[in-house]
């Protein structure tokens, strides 16, 4: 039973990591931009939900919706006013600028919210669980996290492969210069991609704060998990990212069973093994 329980918890933890990773994967896929401030934006998302609950007195899910809308606008402005200027043949400027953003966000949040640890409270749901029989039970929040990850990925796949905006994302990603000659405004497409990514980041922030405590400085360590999930799954595929998250989550929970200090380490070891054996990840979308 303990084996089954470990696997179940690992898979559900993987849903959280998939949520961490999907925004990163989306941005890299569309504009080859590695957002080093991604983890810090998740913390911003968590604080945005917290403000909605504490200061505005909203129910937590409504606060999350408001946070999502705010993050959409923030992403659009961030990309059109700042990050679009850093994109080009050289990959260094976006790395430097998002690294700088990461530091600014961490210190800004320290100033605004202090270094206290915070938690997002789902009320009675926080400790609720669903019994599966045989002594097994899964928490409602982990289940919601996983379901949200699947829904986000279903939505993004529909958007990318069934809509005209999605085709513009894929065309711009493939050949940005040619996309412009088809009448596509790349800067606007990139701004929409970042806006969407930050909505996913807000959802990730919601569950980040609901499943564990957070403070203004935890972004970078969560960014590592997001990176690992993306790389394990393979670039360019959202389902691959989910698989990567699940593998990472499984590795961590199995590691924790062996010994508590093995939790994070086991995840890193699996990541390194995948990187050595399958440098393109387990489920890369394109072979190019």
């Amino acid at each position: 039973m303990i084996v089954l329980d470990t696997i179940l918890q690992g898979v559900l933890l993987g849903g959280l990591y998939a949520l961490f990773a999907t925004g990163l994967s989306l941005i890299f896929g569309v504009m080859r931009l590695v957002n080093l401030a991604h983890g810090d934006f998740m913390v911003v998302g968590a604080f945005a939900v917290l403000i909605g609950v504490d200061a505005l007195g909203l129910p937590i899910l409504l606060a999350a919706v408001v946070a999502g809308v705010v993050m959409f606008g923030l992403g659009y402005l961030l990309q059109s006013l700042l990050l679009n200027r850093t994109l080009g043949k050289d990959i260094l400027p976006p790395l430097l600028v998002t690294f700088g953003l990461s530091i600014i966000l961490q210190n800004g949040m320290l100033e605004a919210f202090s270094a206290d640890t915070q938690r997002l409270d789902f009320g009675a749901l926080s400790s609720a669980s669903v019994p599966l029989g045989g002594g097994l039970a899964v928490g409602v929040i982990p289940l919601m996290t996983f379901a949200s990850a699947v829904l986000v990925i279903l939505f993004l796949n529909w958007l990318f492969y069934r809509t005209e905006l999605g085709r513009a994302f894929r065309a711009t990603s493939d050949k940005p210069e040619i996309a412009q000659l088809m009448g596509i405004d790349n800067n606007r497409i990139f701004a929409l991609a970042m806006a969407l990514a930050l909505v996913v980041v807000a959802i990730a922030g919601l569950y980040l704060g609901a499943r564990a405590t957070f403070d203004p400085l935890i972004g970078p360590s969560r960014l590592i998990f997001a990176f690992e999930a993306v790389i394990i799954g393979g670039l360019g595929s959202f389902w691959g990212t989910l698989a990567g998250g699940v593998i990472l989550g499984l590795a961590q929970t199995v590691g924790a069973q062996i010994s508590p200090e093995w939790q994070t380490l086991a995840g890193h070891v699996v990541f390194l093994v995948v990187l050595v054996l399958r440098p393109r990840g387990l489920f890369p979308r394109h072979v190019d």
């Binding site: 005209e164 085709r167 065309a171 996309a179 000659l181 088809m182 009448g183 190019d288």
Partner: protein, 238 residues
Amino acid sequence: MLLEIRNLRRAFGAVVVADDIMLDVAEGEALGIIGPNGAGKSSLFNLIAGRLAPDAGTIRLDSTDITRMPARKRVHAGIGRSFQIPQPFEHMTTYENVSVAACFGAGGSERAEQAHVVDVLYRTGLLSKANLPAGALSLLERKRLEMARALATKPRLLLLDEIAGGLTDAECASLIATIREVNASGTTIVWIEHVTHALLAVVTRLVAIDFGKVIGEGDPQAVMESDAVRRVYLGIEA
């Protein structure tokens, strides 16, 4: 005049790809451009389509100065082009490639452009390949896709860059028929081509370019037989 090019100049260091070019294209015309490799033909297209900025001179489309207009706005203004080396979005299907061009180039919604996309695929003979990834198309099909994407943007001026190279006689004949039909439906065509028999079957006027300069212009036969062109192509001292 649909297109008016005045004193257009562009150089890369010592290499002048457009040397004081003057060119007019009338609405509805089919104009051919010939010249040896490296003469500046594709560069001229890049200048007209906005992929390359000129050092001097002006380009007007339907009396509007488009010299500094970004490439994507020129598409909306009515300039469509195909590339000599096909540049499909390889991970998208043929249909999706054309659909992107139709929706973002011609400005309609996906639903509104659907019939137009199918029509373009039919006219370019790609309908049976609609659901294949563009990366899986043969070279000839990729060339057709270049023309299909350009047509999907509903251009007033269509720039075709060496689209007939490497075709069999039958394929070439059907391509000629397609281009004629596009021209007959009111689209102005400027066509760069080395396969002169295909070119001469369509165009009513010919321009010869060498070292970025216009060295001959006028009736196709007359230009082909002019001393300047014979000298460039055959090295004959006339």
